[in-house]
């Protein structure tokens, strides 16, 4: 069971890829396949990179740091907001899940 998120500090959230999905880099954009939902969709570069980095250990703060190091990023707050939105979308597609807090 995942924890209710309202009280959690978003920077500390940890996500993991769901085991039944497949995805591949097609030169900048990615293809995501979620068999449970018979879903096949295109991922933009940010979502693709997120899916590659989400590993059940990295926190959102770690992801923000990784993106900041790789790209000319906007401010940390804007980046965090963008990544949280992209993570929520991936979660909605059934590609990743939120891990409970320790």
């Amino acid at each position: 069971m995942s924890e209710p998120t309202t009280n959690a500090n978003p920077a500390e959230l940890v996500f993991a890829r769901r085991r039944d999905i497949s995805f591949q880099d097609f030169g900048g954009e990615g293809l995501l396949v979620v068999p449970r939902q018979s879903l096949q969709i295109v991922l933009n570069g940010t979502s693709l990179r997120l899916l590659q980095l989400v590993d059940g250990r990295r926190t959102v703060a770690d992801l923000v740091a990784a993106f900041a190091a790789e790209y000319d990023a906007p401010s940390a707050e804007t980046l965090e907001a963008d990544l949280l939105a992209a993570l929520a979308e991936l979660e909605g597609h059934g590609a990743i899940e939120r891990l409970p807090h320790d």
Binding site: D20, S22, Q24, F26, P35, S38, Q40, V42
Partner: protein, 366 residues
């Protein structure tokens, strides 16, 4: 410009990335379909470990989707290891099966755990007598019905596939109803192909043309399928043979697609399969040839004919039937004329093709 799945497929095509691989695990089968295109040889078939090596080599070359087929894939003694190997590598799993061995609840539960993206199951009629006659095995229909019940109860997505033949053409509406009973879609294949070693006898089972015209028009009117000509003048390629598709037979021989049995290499003999596929390991005559044909066929073979945009054209079949991969062979012409005529009927235009001369080729080589 918004990026769609087709944009990604075009990129894969431009990069010659073999994104979909069909693995014919075995030619052994528990059914005896008289029209089956398989042409088994007296050679030893790959075992589980060898298929896992093949998976690694395919993945390194960019494969994303693995279809396990055959023969009957569930008959391979290492089926589960191989299928699990596909999923452990994060690849998309698809399976083509006759379904008989899934008349086993425990097996279907294990299968569902693999999270297959699609399972395509052959259904040859709505009645046991018809299906069993085409599969050559009494009881195969009943086992299939049991399998479909199991699969739908655990929520596995299935696409039923019905090759239309003279023997089942009169019961296709009921075939749709069989699908509806389990919540599964039925797709119809109007093309019966020769066997992989060039035997044309399966073509004698092909459905009547008049029937096919009426059937297609009916499917369009009922919103079950679309029907419009392919823009052959503008098409970059006929198909993905030797670029985005790859097939490996039970002996490890690699082919550019399921239909074209011109050998590229043997997967166990090439450590760097990606280098072979991308031409970094020297020239590969098969790949060069099939790619050239796939690129040229829309303009050279199809565009000059009114029915060309509607034709299901397979250069591998052209080569098998006529010796020339560019030839507009009988069955391709008929497929085009049948769809063109159905298209006209749906639009209420006067038909120009009836049982006349233009259809006299009857799907057989000229």
């Amino acid at each position: 410009m918004s990026i769609t799945v087709s944009t990604l497929m075009e990129r894969a095509y431009e990069q010659s990335r073999p994104i979909t691989a069909q693995l014919e695990l075995t030619y052994k089968c528990n059914l005896l379909c008289s029209f089956c295109y398989n042409a088994p040889k007296q050679r030893s078939e790959l075992v589980g470990d060898q298929w896992l090596t093949a998976l690694d080599r395919l993945q390194a070359a960019g494969t994303f989707t693995i279809t396990l087929t055959g023969g009957e894939p569930f008959v391979h003694r290492d089926f589960w290891r191989i299928a699990e190997g596909v999923r452990e590598r994060g690849l998309v799993l698809k399976v083509y099966t006759n379904g008989v061995l899934l008349a086993d609840r425990a097996k279907v539960e294990r299968y569902a755990e693999l999270a297959p993206f699609d399972t395509e199951i052959s259904l040859h009629g709505a009645r046991a007598a018809t299906h069993d006659r085409l599969t050559g095995i009494h009881g195969s229909f009943d086992r299939l019905m049991e399998a479909l019940g199991n699969l739908s109860s655990v929520g596995v997505k299935v696409t039923l596939k019905t090759p239309i033949t003279r023997l089942n053409q009169r019961e296709l509406r009921e075939v749709d109803e069989v699908g509806e009973r389990f919540g599964y879609k039925v797709t119809y294949d109007t093309n019966i192909t020769p066997t992989d070693d060039g035997d044309l006898s399966p073509l004698s089972l092909a459905a009547d043309k008049e029937f096919l015209i009426a059937f297609l028009a009916d499917q369009v009117r009922r919103g079950r399928r679309g029907l419009s000509p392919r823009p052959v003048e503008k098409m970059k390629q006929n198909c993905g043979t030797g670029r985005t598709t790859v097939t490996i037979d039970p002996y490890g021989d690699v082919f550019p697609c399921i239909a074209w049995r011109r050998k590229v290499c043997n997967i166990l003999e090439v450590e760097d399969f990606a280098a072979v596929w991308q031409g970094r390991a020297g020239r590969n005559e098969t790949l060069e040839f099939v790619r050239k044909v796939a690129d040229e066929v829309p303009r050279s073979t199809l565009a000059p004919h009114e029915e060309g945009g509607f034709a299901s054209f397979c250069p591998a079949v052209a080569e098998k039937e006529t010796g020339d991969a560019y030839a507009f062979y009988g069955a391709a012409r008929v497929s085009g004329l049948v769809k063109l005529e159905a298209f006209r009927r749906v639009r209420g235009e006067p038909g120009t093709v009836t049982e006349g001369e233009r259809l006299a080729t009857d799907g057989k080589p000229a």
